[in-house]
Symmetry: C2
Subunit: 323 residues, 2 copies
């Protein structure tokens, strides 16, 4: 593949061509050498999408809830993309695939795009590919991008923190408010949904959650995460979805009015730049080598701290000699 492939694919993706979009996403997921030029081309078109993260333990009904949210947004005439990310599995495993099938009622809708991403055995790769996949969907004109993750571990927290609004799902009988608290997910949650609210003990989950939220420090003007009770059942007798949508809209307004959106997106960019700088440095040290410095450290004529500084100082020259 040569030449400026991205602009053409991007034009087609923006016109609604799902295959062109899928190809663009494959380019960024596979960390193709073209990623950089693809991202550069589409960057001016980004920034318009609202990014919503959904996370929670397996079994809380994340995918059913995602499906219900997609339905609500589509009913309001908005273009929606779903990125289902599984940081724990090297392959797109059974659970995620099964979930995708349950969302097939949206599969024939051109304004809905669903994509699964798995870690391919390398979390670092997924962590750097996800922001690029979000940029592609953003540039392709989706107004809403839902990022759904599996589980409530550290990796999920990291990916959830890519979103503008983070929705944490819980369900009764799973003790997962405590589990979520341990993983640090409570701090990143902007909205809580207690799903399966028709089950016994749902009120207990709400009460636990309320107590935990009350413990958090909050300044005047800060956002207070609402707790929404819901029953998501594939579009039939859904409850709480319209409340979730309106709370998400309220959060979006707050993000914009408070300046938090800008602050959050800059913090995210900072994390992304740091991660990419590390990767770039690692790649360069593997290809350009540091053999001369290592030989001097090994024979005791150069201290390792100075060698590390020399390595960093060399990066300026390397940048220009890479052509």
């Amino acid at each position: 593949m040569t030449g400026p492939v991205a602009p053409e694919l991007l034009d087609r993706a923006r016109a609604g061509d799902a295959r062109a979009l899928a190809r663009l996403l494959s380019l960024v997921e596979d960390a193709s050498p073209l990623v950089r030029s693809v991202i550069k081309d589409l960057l001016p078109l980004t920034g318009g999408a609202r990014i919503i993260g959904l996370t929670g333990a397996p079994g809380v009904g994340k995918s059913t809830m995602t499906g219900a949210l997609v339905g609500a947004f589509r009913a309001a005439g908005r273009r929606v993309a779903v990125l289902a990310v599984d940081p724990t599995s090297p392959f797109t495993g059974g659970a995620l695939l099964g979930d995708r099938i349950r969302m097939q009622d949206h599969a024939t809708d051109e304004a809905v795009f669903i994509r699964s991403m798995a870690s391919r055995g390398h979390l670092g790769g997924l962590a750097s590919a996800t922001p690029q996949a979000i940029r592609v969907l953003d540039a392709a004109g989706f107004e809403l991008i839902l990022i759904e993750t599996v589980g409530v571990g550290q990796a999920e927290v990291a990916i959830a923190s890519l979103a503008d609004s983070v929705v944490v799902l819980l369900a009764p009988g799973m003790g997962d408010a405590i589990q979520a608290a341990k993983a640090g997910i409570l701090e990143v949650a902007d909205l809580f949904v207690v799903n399966k609210a028709d089950k016994p003990d749902a009120h207990q989950v709400v009460r636990d959650l309320r107590n935990m939220i009350a413990l958090g420090q909050r300044a005047p003007g800060d956002w207070k995460p609402p707790i929404i009770t819901a029953v998501a059942m594939n579009g039939l007798h859904d409850e709480g979805i319209s409340e979730l949508v309106s709370d998400l809209d309220a959060h979006w307004s707050w993000l914009n009015a408070s300046g938090e959106l800008k602050r959050r997106r800059q913090a995210r960019a900072r994390e992304e730049i740091t991660a990419l700088a590390f990767t770039t440095l690692r790649d360069r040290l593997m290809t350009n080598g540091i053999d001369e410095l290592a030989a001097r450290v090994a024979d005791g004529t150069l201290d390792p701290f100075q060698a590390a500084e020399d390595v960093l100082a060399q990066q300026k020259e390397l940048r220009f000699t890479r052509g």
Copy 2:
């Protein structure tokens, strides 16, 4: 603490002052701001020590074996230091302390120095502190430095790889040849010791090990790890120790004659420089910030890959402006 503290402490440590040596080690373990000047001062005095790593699952008798080795080296009139490293525990735990007490027969010997290092909850810190602690002991004039680690995990493999000669201990009835194989310890082993060889099934461990070694690719002139059967029991009826010492001497001769010692020490320096460059970069990004670049990435006027390159390119200037 101001002024050139290291040269004076170093002089005293080289003269056999254990307290001065302990203070130098504390400086490098605590990642004191003085570490760099301490290491610079003592660097010209390093390179003379032979570094021997001992690793194996808990219960194989590592500390008893270490004690027996110390005894053998002392009998030959050599100065020996022991660095007991526990990467899994934030504190110097009971097991290690207990082991240290068992080695107390050497505690009053001025030519033997024993030090425990624990991770203090931060493995990265231990990984960078251990090479510096080795340099301190080397500069202080110890001819032999034994590094003893707990367990057979990835962290232990990383620390074992700091040694010139890596001894892997196994014992019958623990199924740990397989466990060691899984952790990748077989590849880094230069010598195998099957300890507790008086127990039943010791021959089975030797046979398993021999089969696994036979599977490894080896070029002519490569070192073939010997398998030594031993019974280490606190100096009473020790068996196999003199064979281990002579195999270690044979490995040392091979390291020098083959050029492998130089290659190995350079590879270690390369790893150390890379790790220090990462740490330095991380520290600088936290203090100097990348807010301007992050703001441009967030508003879509700069691509994140370019920002990462800019961050690396800035390191040259930062180096000179740090004073």
